[in-house]
Symmetry: C2
Subunit: 208 residues, 2 copies
Protein backbone atom coordinates (compact mmCIF):
# COMPACT_ATOMS: atom_id res chain seq x y z
CA UNK A 1 0.00 0.00 0.00
CA UNK A 2 1.35 3.41 -0.88
CA UNK A 3 1.07 6.31 1.51
CA UNK A 4 -1.59 8.97 1.20
CA UNK A 5 0.89 11.53 -0.09
CA UNK A 6 2.12 9.09 -2.75
CA UNK A 7 -1.50 8.59 -3.81
CA UNK A 8 -1.95 12.37 -4.01
CA UNK A 9 1.15 12.60 -6.19
CA UNK A 10 -0.18 9.88 -8.46
CA UNK A 11 -3.51 11.63 -8.81
CA UNK A 12 -1.74 14.88 -9.64
CA UNK A 13 0.29 13.09 -12.32
CA UNK A 14 -2.90 11.62 -13.74
CA UNK A 15 -4.40 15.13 -13.93
CA UNK A 16 -1.31 16.28 -15.86
CA UNK A 17 -1.61 13.31 -18.23
CA UNK A 18 -5.32 14.07 -18.76
CA UNK A 19 -4.53 17.70 -19.55
CA UNK A 20 -1.92 16.68 -22.15
CA UNK A 21 -4.19 14.05 -23.67
CA UNK A 22 -7.08 16.56 -23.94
CA UNK A 23 -4.83 19.11 -25.65
CA UNK A 24 -3.70 16.46 -28.16
CA UNK A 25 -6.93 14.61 -28.86
CA UNK A 26 -9.82 16.81 -27.69
CA UNK A 27 -12.62 15.35 -25.61
CA UNK A 28 -14.90 13.66 -28.16
CA UNK A 29 -12.51 10.90 -29.17
CA UNK A 30 -10.48 10.73 -25.96
CA UNK A 31 -9.88 7.22 -24.60
CA UNK A 32 -8.41 5.95 -21.33
CA UNK A 33 -5.55 4.61 -23.51
CA UNK A 34 -4.76 8.18 -24.72
CA UNK A 35 -4.47 9.27 -21.10
CA UNK A 36 -2.43 6.19 -20.18
CA UNK A 37 -0.06 7.08 -23.06
CA UNK A 38 0.64 10.43 -21.37
CA UNK A 39 1.08 8.84 -17.93
CA UNK A 40 4.55 7.66 -16.87
CA UNK A 41 3.25 4.87 -14.67
CA UNK A 42 1.19 1.78 -15.49
CA UNK A 43 -2.22 1.75 -17.09
CA UNK A 44 -3.45 -0.49 -14.26
CA UNK A 45 -2.51 2.23 -11.77
CA UNK A 46 -4.65 4.65 -13.81
CA UNK A 47 -7.58 2.24 -13.64
CA UNK A 48 -6.96 1.67 -9.92
CA UNK A 49 -7.65 5.37 -9.33
CA UNK A 50 -10.41 5.93 -11.88
CA UNK A 51 -12.75 3.22 -13.12
CA UNK A 52 -14.05 4.99 -16.21
CA UNK A 53 -13.31 7.95 -18.46
CA UNK A 54 -16.34 9.61 -16.85
CA UNK A 55 -14.96 9.27 -13.29
CA UNK A 56 -11.64 10.61 -14.46
CA UNK A 57 -13.20 13.55 -16.33
CA UNK A 58 -15.26 14.55 -13.28
CA UNK A 59 -12.11 14.55 -11.14
CA UNK A 60 -10.29 16.47 -13.87
CA UNK A 61 -13.05 19.10 -13.97
CA UNK A 62 -12.71 19.64 -10.21
CA UNK A 63 -8.96 19.94 -10.59
CA UNK A 64 -8.96 22.33 -13.53
CA UNK A 65 -11.82 24.44 -12.20
CA UNK A 66 -9.90 24.93 -8.96
CA UNK A 67 -6.76 25.80 -10.89
CA UNK A 68 -8.44 28.30 -13.25
CA UNK A 69 -10.39 29.84 -10.39
CA UNK A 70 -7.21 30.34 -8.32
CA UNK A 71 -5.38 31.80 -11.29
CA UNK A 72 -8.16 34.34 -11.88
CA UNK A 73 -7.97 35.50 -8.28
CA UNK A 74 -4.18 35.83 -8.20
CA UNK A 75 -2.88 39.36 -8.17
CA UNK A 76 0.15 41.23 -6.93
CA UNK A 77 -1.73 44.48 -6.67
CA UNK A 78 -4.63 45.74 -4.59
CA UNK A 79 -5.59 48.38 -7.14
CA UNK A 80 -9.06 47.53 -8.53
CA UNK A 81 -8.47 48.86 -12.07
CA UNK A 82 -5.21 46.91 -12.39
CA UNK A 83 -6.85 43.79 -10.98
CA UNK A 84 -9.73 44.09 -13.46
CA UNK A 85 -7.25 44.48 -16.28
CA UNK A 86 -5.33 41.41 -15.12
CA UNK A 87 -8.59 39.46 -14.94
CA UNK A 88 -9.38 40.27 -18.58
CA UNK A 89 -5.77 39.63 -19.66
CA UNK A 90 -5.99 36.07 -18.36
CA UNK A 91 -8.50 35.23 -21.12
CA UNK A 92 -6.28 36.48 -23.92
CA UNK A 93 -5.11 33.36 -25.78
CA UNK A 94 -1.91 33.55 -27.78
CA UNK A 95 -2.49 31.95 -31.18
CA UNK A 96 -1.15 28.48 -31.86
CA UNK A 97 -0.37 27.71 -28.25
CA UNK A 98 -1.36 24.80 -26.08
CA UNK A 99 -3.85 27.21 -24.50
CA UNK A 100 -5.90 27.19 -27.72
CA UNK A 101 -6.15 23.38 -27.67
CA UNK A 102 -7.12 23.45 -24.03
CA UNK A 103 -9.79 26.15 -24.49
CA UNK A 104 -11.22 24.05 -27.27
CA UNK A 105 -11.34 20.96 -25.03
CA UNK A 106 -13.13 23.01 -22.34
CA UNK A 107 -15.68 24.16 -24.92
CA UNK A 108 -16.25 20.52 -25.90
CA UNK A 109 -16.83 19.69 -22.24
CA UNK A 110 -19.37 22.52 -22.01
CA UNK A 111 -21.26 20.98 -24.92
CA UNK A 112 -21.18 17.60 -23.18
CA UNK A 113 -22.68 19.32 -20.15
CA UNK A 114 -26.00 19.65 -21.97
CA UNK A 115 -26.64 15.93 -21.62
CA UNK A 116 -24.43 15.16 -18.61
CA UNK A 117 -25.76 16.42 -15.25
CA UNK A 118 -22.42 15.74 -13.49
CA UNK A 119 -20.42 17.89 -15.90
CA UNK A 120 -23.17 20.47 -15.98
CA UNK A 121 -23.24 21.01 -12.25
CA UNK A 122 -19.47 21.49 -12.06
CA UNK A 123 -19.29 23.77 -15.08
CA UNK A 124 -22.19 25.91 -13.87
CA UNK A 125 -20.43 26.37 -10.51
CA UNK A 126 -17.19 27.20 -12.35
CA UNK A 127 -18.92 29.80 -14.52
CA UNK A 128 -20.63 31.43 -11.58
CA UNK A 129 -17.43 31.44 -9.53
CA UNK A 130 -15.47 33.15 -12.33
CA UNK A 131 -18.20 35.77 -12.62
CA UNK A 132 -18.08 36.28 -8.85
CA UNK A 133 -14.31 36.87 -8.98
CA UNK A 134 -14.86 39.80 -11.36
CA UNK A 135 -17.83 41.02 -9.29
CA UNK A 136 -15.61 41.14 -6.17
CA UNK A 137 -13.04 43.28 -7.99
CA UNK A 138 -15.85 45.62 -9.04
CA UNK A 139 -17.27 45.70 -5.50
CA UNK A 140 -13.84 46.61 -4.10
CA UNK A 141 -13.46 49.32 -6.75
CA UNK A 142 -16.84 50.81 -5.85
CA UNK A 143 -15.96 50.76 -2.15
CA UNK A 144 -12.68 52.53 -2.93
CA UNK A 145 -14.55 55.00 -5.18
CA UNK A 146 -12.50 54.00 -8.22
CA UNK A 147 -15.60 52.61 -9.96
CA UNK A 148 -19.09 54.06 -10.13
CA UNK A 149 -21.86 52.10 -8.40
CA UNK A 150 -23.27 49.50 -10.81
CA UNK A 151 -24.91 46.08 -10.64
CA UNK A 152 -21.57 44.33 -10.21
CA UNK A 153 -22.88 40.84 -10.90
CA UNK A 154 -24.45 41.91 -14.20
CA UNK A 155 -21.31 43.75 -15.35
CA UNK A 156 -19.06 40.87 -14.25
CA UNK A 157 -21.23 38.38 -16.17
CA UNK A 158 -21.01 40.57 -19.26
CA UNK A 159 -17.20 40.78 -19.04
CA UNK A 160 -16.70 37.06 -18.49
CA UNK A 161 -19.29 35.97 -21.07
CA UNK A 162 -17.85 38.30 -23.73
CA UNK A 163 -14.36 36.88 -23.17
CA UNK A 164 -15.65 33.29 -23.42
CA UNK A 165 -17.42 34.21 -26.68
CA UNK A 166 -14.17 35.60 -28.08
CA UNK A 167 -12.30 32.52 -26.95
CA UNK A 168 -14.81 30.26 -28.72
CA UNK A 169 -14.49 32.36 -31.90
CA UNK A 170 -10.71 32.16 -31.75
CA UNK A 171 -10.42 28.42 -31.16
CA UNK A 172 -13.20 27.17 -33.42
CA UNK A 173 -12.83 29.46 -36.43
CA UNK A 174 -9.17 30.45 -36.15
CA UNK A 175 -9.80 34.16 -35.43
CA UNK A 176 -6.35 34.52 -33.90
CA UNK A 177 -6.84 38.06 -32.56
CA UNK A 178 -10.38 37.58 -31.20
CA UNK A 179 -9.52 37.46 -27.48
CA UNK A 180 -7.10 40.39 -27.75
CA UNK A 181 -9.68 42.50 -29.60
CA UNK A 182 -12.39 41.67 -27.08
CA UNK A 183 -10.17 42.53 -24.09
CA UNK A 184 -9.39 45.88 -25.73
CA UNK A 185 -13.04 46.60 -26.58
CA UNK A 186 -14.17 45.79 -23.04
CA UNK A 187 -11.50 48.09 -21.58
CA UNK A 188 -12.42 50.85 -23.97
CA UNK A 189 -16.20 50.68 -23.70
CA UNK A 190 -17.12 49.03 -20.43
CA UNK A 191 -14.25 49.61 -18.00
CA UNK A 192 -13.86 53.25 -19.07
CA UNK A 193 -17.54 53.87 -18.30
CA UNK A 194 -17.09 52.45 -14.82
CA UNK A 195 -14.33 54.85 -13.78
CA UNK A 196 -15.22 57.67 -11.40
CA UNK A 197 -12.28 59.73 -12.71
CA UNK A 198 -11.84 59.91 -16.47
CA UNK A 199 -9.27 57.49 -17.92
CA UNK A 200 -5.75 58.88 -17.51
CA UNK A 201 -4.01 56.75 -20.12
CA UNK A 202 -3.73 53.61 -18.02
CA UNK A 203 -6.80 52.31 -19.77
CA UNK A 204 -5.16 52.49 -23.19
CA UNK A 205 -4.67 49.07 -24.70
CA UNK A 206 -1.66 47.67 -26.45
CA UNK A 207 -3.25 47.81 -29.88
CA UNK A 208 -5.21 51.06 -29.61
CA UNK B 1 -37.85 13.28 -64.30
CA UNK B 2 -39.22 16.04 -62.13
CA UNK B 3 -38.99 19.68 -63.15
CA UNK B 4 -36.38 22.03 -61.77
CA UNK B 5 -38.88 23.82 -59.59
CA UNK B 6 -40.08 20.50 -58.14
CA UNK B 7 -36.47 19.65 -57.34
CA UNK B 8 -36.09 23.03 -55.64
CA UNK B 9 -39.19 22.33 -53.58
CA UNK B 10 -37.83 18.93 -52.58
CA UNK B 11 -34.50 20.42 -51.53
CA UNK B 12 -36.33 23.05 -49.48
CA UNK B 13 -38.35 20.31 -47.77
CA UNK B 14 -35.13 18.42 -47.04
CA UNK B 15 -33.67 21.57 -45.42
CA UNK B 16 -36.77 21.81 -43.21
CA UNK B 17 -36.44 18.15 -42.25
CA UNK B 18 -32.75 18.67 -41.45
CA UNK B 19 -33.58 21.66 -39.26
CA UNK B 20 -36.18 19.66 -37.30
CA UNK B 21 -33.86 16.65 -36.96
CA UNK B 22 -31.01 18.87 -35.70
CA UNK B 23 -33.28 20.50 -33.10
CA UNK B 24 -34.38 17.05 -31.89
CA UNK B 25 -31.12 15.11 -31.98
CA UNK B 26 -28.25 17.62 -32.15
CA UNK B 27 -25.45 17.15 -34.63
CA UNK B 28 -23.15 14.61 -32.97
CA UNK B 29 -25.51 11.64 -33.17
CA UNK B 30 -27.54 12.78 -36.17
CA UNK B 31 -28.12 10.10 -38.83
CA UNK B 32 -29.55 10.25 -42.34
CA UNK B 33 -32.39 8.12 -40.91
CA UNK B 34 -33.23 10.87 -38.36
CA UNK B 35 -33.53 13.33 -41.23
CA UNK B 36 -35.54 10.85 -43.33
CA UNK B 37 -37.92 10.48 -40.35
CA UNK B 38 -38.68 14.23 -40.54
CA UNK B 39 -39.09 14.14 -44.34
CA UNK B 40 -42.52 13.46 -45.81
CA UNK B 41 -41.20 11.79 -48.93
CA UNK B 42 -39.10 8.66 -49.41
CA UNK B 43 -35.68 8.03 -47.96
CA UNK B 44 -34.43 7.14 -51.44
CA UNK B 45 -35.41 10.63 -52.63
CA UNK B 46 -33.28 12.04 -49.77
CA UNK B 47 -30.32 9.94 -50.90
CA UNK B 48 -30.96 10.90 -54.53
CA UNK B 49 -30.29 14.54 -53.58
CA UNK B 50 -27.55 14.05 -50.99
CA UNK B 51 -25.16 11.09 -50.96
CA UNK B 52 -23.92 11.48 -47.41
CA UNK B 53 -24.68 13.26 -44.15
CA UNK B 54 -21.68 15.47 -44.93
CA UNK B 55 -23.06 16.59 -48.33
CA UNK B 56 -26.39 17.30 -46.74
CA UNK B 57 -24.86 19.26 -43.83
CA UNK B 58 -22.81 21.42 -46.21
CA UNK B 59 -25.97 22.24 -48.19
CA UNK B 60 -27.80 22.89 -44.92
CA UNK B 61 -25.09 25.28 -43.75
CA UNK B 62 -25.43 27.28 -46.98
CA UNK B 63 -29.18 27.37 -46.53
CA UNK B 64 -29.22 28.37 -42.87
CA UNK B 65 -26.37 30.87 -43.24
CA UNK B 66 -28.30 32.60 -46.02
CA UNK B 67 -31.44 32.58 -43.91
CA UNK B 68 -29.80 33.94 -40.75
CA UNK B 69 -27.88 36.55 -42.75
CA UNK B 70 -31.06 37.77 -44.45
CA UNK B 71 -32.89 37.90 -41.15
CA UNK B 72 -30.16 40.03 -39.57
CA UNK B 73 -30.37 42.53 -42.40
CA UNK B 74 -34.14 42.82 -42.36
CA UNK B 75 -35.51 46.04 -40.97
CA UNK B 76 -38.57 48.22 -41.34
CA UNK B 77 -36.72 51.32 -40.29
CA UNK B 78 -33.83 53.34 -41.67
CA UNK B 79 -32.90 54.75 -38.28
CA UNK B 80 -29.40 53.46 -37.35
CA UNK B 81 -30.01 53.24 -33.57
CA UNK B 82 -33.25 51.29 -34.07
CA UNK B 83 -31.57 49.03 -36.62
CA UNK B 84 -28.68 48.32 -34.21
CA UNK B 85 -31.16 47.52 -31.48
CA UNK B 86 -33.06 45.16 -33.79
CA UNK B 87 -29.78 43.49 -34.71
CA UNK B 88 -28.99 42.77 -31.06
CA UNK B 89 -32.59 41.72 -30.34
CA UNK B 90 -32.32 38.97 -32.96
CA UNK B 91 -29.80 37.12 -30.75
CA UNK B 92 -32.03 37.12 -27.71
CA UNK B 93 -33.15 33.52 -27.25
CA UNK B 94 -36.35 32.84 -25.36
CA UNK B 95 -35.75 30.02 -22.89
CA UNK B 96 -37.05 26.57 -23.67
CA UNK B 97 -37.82 27.31 -27.28
CA UNK B 98 -36.82 25.50 -30.43
CA UNK B 99 -34.35 28.37 -30.89
CA UNK B 100 -32.28 27.07 -27.95
CA UNK B 101 -31.99 23.62 -29.52
CA UNK B 102 -31.03 25.14 -32.82
CA UNK B 103 -28.40 27.46 -31.32
CA UNK B 104 -26.93 24.44 -29.60
CA UNK B 105 -26.78 22.52 -32.90
CA UNK B 106 -25.02 25.49 -34.54
CA UNK B 107 -22.49 25.53 -31.70
CA UNK B 108 -21.86 21.81 -32.26
CA UNK B 109 -21.29 22.54 -35.95
CA UNK B 110 -18.77 25.25 -35.01
CA UNK B 111 -16.85 22.70 -32.96
CA UNK B 112 -16.90 20.29 -35.92
CA UNK B 113 -15.43 23.10 -38.01
CA UNK B 114 -12.12 22.72 -36.19
CA UNK B 115 -11.43 19.46 -38.00
CA UNK B 116 -13.63 19.94 -41.06
CA UNK B 117 -12.32 22.46 -43.64
CA UNK B 118 -15.65 22.49 -45.54
CA UNK B 119 -17.69 23.47 -42.46
CA UNK B 120 -14.96 25.84 -41.35
CA UNK B 121 -14.91 27.83 -44.56
CA UNK B 122 -18.68 28.30 -44.55
CA UNK B 123 -18.89 29.18 -40.86
CA UNK B 124 -16.02 31.66 -41.11
CA UNK B 125 -17.79 33.41 -44.00
CA UNK B 126 -21.04 33.39 -41.99
CA UNK B 127 -19.34 34.92 -38.95
CA UNK B 128 -17.65 37.62 -40.98
CA UNK B 129 -20.85 38.41 -42.87
CA UNK B 130 -22.84 38.83 -39.63
CA UNK B 131 -20.13 41.14 -38.29
CA UNK B 132 -20.27 43.13 -41.55
CA UNK B 133 -24.04 43.57 -41.21
CA UNK B 134 -23.52 45.31 -37.85
CA UNK B 135 -20.58 47.29 -39.24
CA UNK B 136 -22.79 48.63 -42.07
CA UNK B 137 -25.39 49.82 -39.54
CA UNK B 138 -22.60 51.58 -37.61
CA UNK B 139 -21.20 53.10 -40.84
CA UNK B 140 -24.63 54.45 -41.76
CA UNK B 141 -25.04 55.85 -38.26
CA UNK B 142 -21.68 57.63 -38.46
CA UNK B 143 -22.57 59.05 -41.86
CA UNK B 144 -25.86 60.33 -40.46
CA UNK B 145 -24.03 61.70 -37.41
CA UNK B 146 -26.06 59.56 -35.03
CA UNK B 147 -22.95 57.62 -33.99
CA UNK B 148 -19.46 58.91 -33.24
CA UNK B 149 -16.67 57.84 -35.60
CA UNK B 150 -15.22 54.49 -34.44
CA UNK B 151 -13.54 51.44 -35.96
CA UNK B 152 -16.87 49.99 -37.06
CA UNK B 153 -15.51 46.52 -37.84
CA UNK B 154 -13.94 46.21 -34.36
CA UNK B 155 -17.11 47.40 -32.59
CA UNK B 156 -19.31 45.17 -34.75
CA UNK B 157 -17.12 42.14 -33.99
CA UNK B 158 -17.36 42.91 -30.29
CA UNK B 159 -21.18 43.15 -30.41
CA UNK B 160 -21.63 39.94 -32.41
CA UNK B 161 -19.02 37.95 -30.47
CA UNK B 162 -20.49 38.99 -27.11
CA UNK B 163 -23.96 37.87 -28.21
CA UNK B 164 -22.62 34.50 -29.41
CA UNK B 165 -20.85 34.05 -26.04
CA UNK B 166 -24.12 34.73 -24.22
CA UNK B 167 -25.95 32.34 -26.50
CA UNK B 168 -23.41 29.58 -25.77
CA UNK B 169 -23.75 30.24 -22.02
CA UNK B 170 -27.53 30.06 -22.25
CA UNK B 171 -27.78 26.88 -24.30
CA UNK B 172 -24.97 24.84 -22.71
CA UNK B 173 -25.37 25.74 -19.04
CA UNK B 174 -29.03 26.73 -18.91
CA UNK B 175 -28.46 30.41 -18.08
CA UNK B 176 -31.90 31.31 -19.33
CA UNK B 177 -31.47 35.10 -19.15
CA UNK B 178 -27.94 35.25 -20.58
CA UNK B 179 -28.80 36.62 -24.04
CA UNK B 180 -31.26 39.16 -22.62
CA UNK B 181 -28.70 40.40 -20.07
CA UNK B 182 -25.97 40.68 -22.71
CA UNK B 183 -28.22 42.64 -25.09
CA UNK B 184 -29.03 45.03 -22.25
CA UNK B 185 -25.40 45.40 -21.17
CA UNK B 186 -24.26 46.08 -24.74
CA UNK B 187 -26.96 48.74 -25.16
CA UNK B 188 -26.08 50.33 -21.86
CA UNK B 189 -22.29 50.32 -22.17
CA UNK B 190 -21.35 50.14 -25.82
CA UNK B 191 -24.22 51.61 -27.81
CA UNK B 192 -24.67 54.52 -25.38
CA UNK B 193 -20.99 55.43 -25.84
CA UNK B 194 -21.44 55.54 -29.59
CA UNK B 195 -24.23 58.11 -29.57
CA UNK B 196 -23.38 61.67 -30.62
CA UNK B 197 -26.34 62.96 -28.62
CA UNK B 198 -26.79 61.63 -25.09
CA UNK B 199 -29.32 58.84 -24.75
CA UNK B 200 -32.85 60.20 -24.56
CA UNK B 201 -34.58 57.22 -23.06
CA UNK B 202 -34.82 55.16 -26.23
CA UNK B 203 -31.71 53.29 -25.12
CA UNK B 204 -33.35 52.08 -21.94
CA UNK B 205 -33.78 48.33 -21.86
CA UNK B 206 -36.75 46.30 -20.77
CA UNK B 207 -35.06 45.17 -17.57
CA UNK B 208 -33.15 48.32 -16.60
Amino acid sequence: MSSESEQDDTRREIMGATYRALCKHGYANLTMQDIADEFDKSKSLLHYHYDTKDDLMLAFLDHVIGWIGDRLEESETEEPLDRLREYLDRFVIKPGEEEESFSLALLELRLQAVHHPGFREKLQAHYESNVETAARILDDGIEEEVFKPVDTHAVAEMLYTSMTGASAYQVTLGASQATTSMRDALLRFVVTDLLVEPADGRIETEVS
